[in-house]
Amino acid sequence: MFWHSFKYAFSTLIKNRALMFWTLIFPFALALMFNLAFMRLHDYDVFEPFEVAVVNDAGYDKAEIFKEAFKALSEGDERLFNTQYVSKERASELLENEEIEGFVYIADDEPHIQVKKNGSNQTVLATAVEQIMQSSQIIEDIATQKLSESPMAYLNAEQIYQNAVATVAEAEPNVKDDSRVMNMVVIEFYTLIAMSCMQGAMLSSEMIDRALPKNSHRGKRIAVAPTRKSVVVASNLLASYSILLVGVLALIAFMRFVLGVEFGANLGLICAHAAAGSLAATMLGMFLSIALKTNSGAKNIIVIIITMVGCLFAGMFGGQKGWFDSMMPFINKISPVGLITDGYYALYYYEDLGRYWMNLGGLLIISAVFLILSIRGLRRQRYDSI
């Protein structure tokens, strides 16, 4: 009888087009949109050289170091700038027409920059010019110091100057960068998986509504059938859970293999987390169906509110999870959306699995709590007359 009931519950859910859309199809559409919108958000490695101009006048001719340095920044495959050497009038005209991001001119032996607006390219230009100025100063200081050390040094002034240039060119920061290159955007996708799991609560809520006499006419009909309530409830739950889990796993596969979202390498734990998240959502749906005396539309709205508020705290809509965690550290520890998201984050970012197991455990505890509460709600329900 269990499998008979399961088969009908499964078939009923599959035919519910609205539920299938919201729980199975909509997350795929969102994942695709997220990918299109966020794919370049952290693409900082791709640097395109941009157009600038240098005013080619008498001041520029005199500034030997600047000339050489700027030329070096404008040549080769790794150049920063596509540089035009023009008159000041022409440079102003180019800037006015937005054909260049800015231009540099030398006045009173100092480089000056003119830009039309503020932006990242303008900042890069200013930083580069500043670096040239500072390097010139260092060369000057080193050469002066060396020359002052011995009167004979003036005989080798050219050599000392060349050595100073070499010293500056060879100076390398002795920094060891221990960071792993991470992409914060993955959190958006993890929250989407959590959202997909939690929307699945609508499936179990719908199926329990259909199975309970107090919630639907069909439930009344089922109540008088010679099938144990536990069998009906369990089979309906299993049907909801199976469909949800397949949907969530398909979503993860789509994200991983089609969109290229990183999850870490532990496939078994990735699936286990999806199973635990789906379980928590299924139990939540059952609990809401049993605890709330309202129609399924209202229950769906409650599921959506729980899901979307959880998603907001977990980092969807702009990655504010860190801020919420600092303001309300407990919220993502008790929210299933937070636990699902954090579990995937732990798998992706942490080598140690301790944090992952904490999240998985949290989801299992939430599932158990909802299950116990639901069983308490269902037990000893007898009807004299329906």
């Binding site: 900082y44 100092e110 000056h112 607006k117 500072q134 100063q137 100076a171 914060m184």
Partner: protein, 381 residues
């Protein structure tokens, strides 16, 4: 009158939907406006960093700490355990470990190694440039026979050199970025609010039994359609007015009580009209609450994601932006961006905005024609 009454009755019945999308606009719009993670003008803010100093605060170590303090927002009393998460979520963009004996080793010419951990993003790049600039300067001066104080003096004097940047901009347009973000984010709320309610009303009137009842009623079909269209426009106008009032309080109204503010408002009004025509077309194609909700979400979210409402257009891939040209939201957002960056408010400056607004209006005309064609075809069937 009867048709109008029925129209507004359905609107009131769905007031929850309007409130929901308005809350979404206010809350997520506020988050979106306050989020600094997408700024590309990274010199405007100092990068947030954490420093773990294991050396004595003397000589070169002290100078390094002072330099960091001056050029970055150094988080005080920072807990080592939270570094990993904070770097990921960009609460800080760099953590620097200064090893024990840094000052002594540096002065001895041993090139002591600093350990850093950085997040990704422009602010992190800025922090790296800032640190590297100090270290290369210090490294260069370390070749000279100088005392710690002399070296620190030379390093500081060199790093204090700044280039003079003159800007042709007459107006600091960064002050309008909040308004631009708000109105661009309103794209989603306007589409969701207008499409959902108008489609629900239209589907109620288009339900077979209601439609048949209306056809035999005393009100002519053409008149009923006119009344519905008039009320739909009135409803959209109400949504627009509501969002303008909210915008006034959220983005600092007094700054926008000028032609620039009027342009933002006019642009959103044209878009609201266009959203009404989209709703009109969808209501001809789709019936039933579930289907309407599904289509609304795909249209509203899809165009918001693809046209730069949630993520600035400059971050979207070229092929997405090319595709977005076929959506009215693209021109609406483009007009908002242009309004936000206007240096002058002469006709010549405003012209690109007017062209974008005309494009949105053009889409509205196309949607009305398409809806009428669909209605005609359905009538024949």
């Amino acid at each position: 009158m009867t048709v109008s009454k029925a129209f507004w009755k359905i609107v009131l019945k769905n007031i929850g939907t309007i409130i929901t999308y308005t809350i979404i606009l206010v809350s997520f719009g506020t988050i979106n406006m306050s989020s600094g993670s997408m700024t590309t003008q990274f010199e405007a803010v100092k990068p947030k960093i954490a420093v773990f100093n294991h050396d004595e605060e003397v000589g070169m170590t002290q100078n390094l700490l002072e330099y960091l303090d001056k050029n970055a927002e150094v988080q005080q009393d920072y807990a080592e355990e939270s570094v990993k998460d904070d770097l990921f979520y960009e609460s800080i963009v760099m953590a620097i470990d200064i090893p024990e004996g840094y000052n002594t080793d540096f002065l001895a010419g041993k090139k002591p190694e600093l350990h850093t951990r950085t997040s990704s993003g422009y602010a992190a790049e800025l922090a790296k440039v800032m640190l590297n600039r100090y270290l290369t300067t210090a490294q260069s001066y370390a070749t000279l026979d100088l005392s710690a104080d002399e070296m620190a003096e030379k390093i500081n004097a060199t790093l204090n050199q700044k280039v003079q940047v003159e800007t042709l901009a007459k107006v600091d347009t960064t002050q309008f970025s909040k308004a631009t973000r708000y109105f661009s984010f309103a794209n989603y709320a306007i589409l969701a609010c207008v499409i959902t309610i108008i489609c629900l009303i239209m589907s109620s009137f288009n339900r077979r039994e209601i439609r048949r009842r209306n056809l035999v009623g005393s009100v002519e079909l053409s008149k009923m359609n006119r009344v519905l269209l008039r009320n739909s426009c009135l409803y959209s106008f109400g949504v627009w007015a509501l969002y303008i009032i909210i915008g006034y309080f959220l983005v600092g109204g007094p700054d926008l009580m000028n032609l620039r503010g009027a342009l933002y408002a006019a642009n959103s009004l044209v878009f609201c009209i266009c959203a009404t025509t989209i709703a009109y077309l969808i209501s001809q194609l789709v019936h039933g609450n579930n289907a309407v909700n599904a289509v609304m979400n795909i249209v509203a979210l899809g165009s918001s994601f693809l046209c730069g409402c949630f993520v600035p257009a400059e971050y979207l891939p070229d092929f997405v932006l090319t595709f977005a040209h076929i959506l009215p939201s693209y021109y609406y957002v483009a007009a908002n961006d242009t309004i936000g960056g206007l240096q002058g408010l002469e006709f010549g400056d405003v012209r690109p905005v007017l062209i974008d607004m005309a494009a949105v209006a053009g889409f509205a005309v196309i949607f009305v024609i398409a809806a009428n064609v669909v209605a005609k075809v359905k009538q024949r069937e």
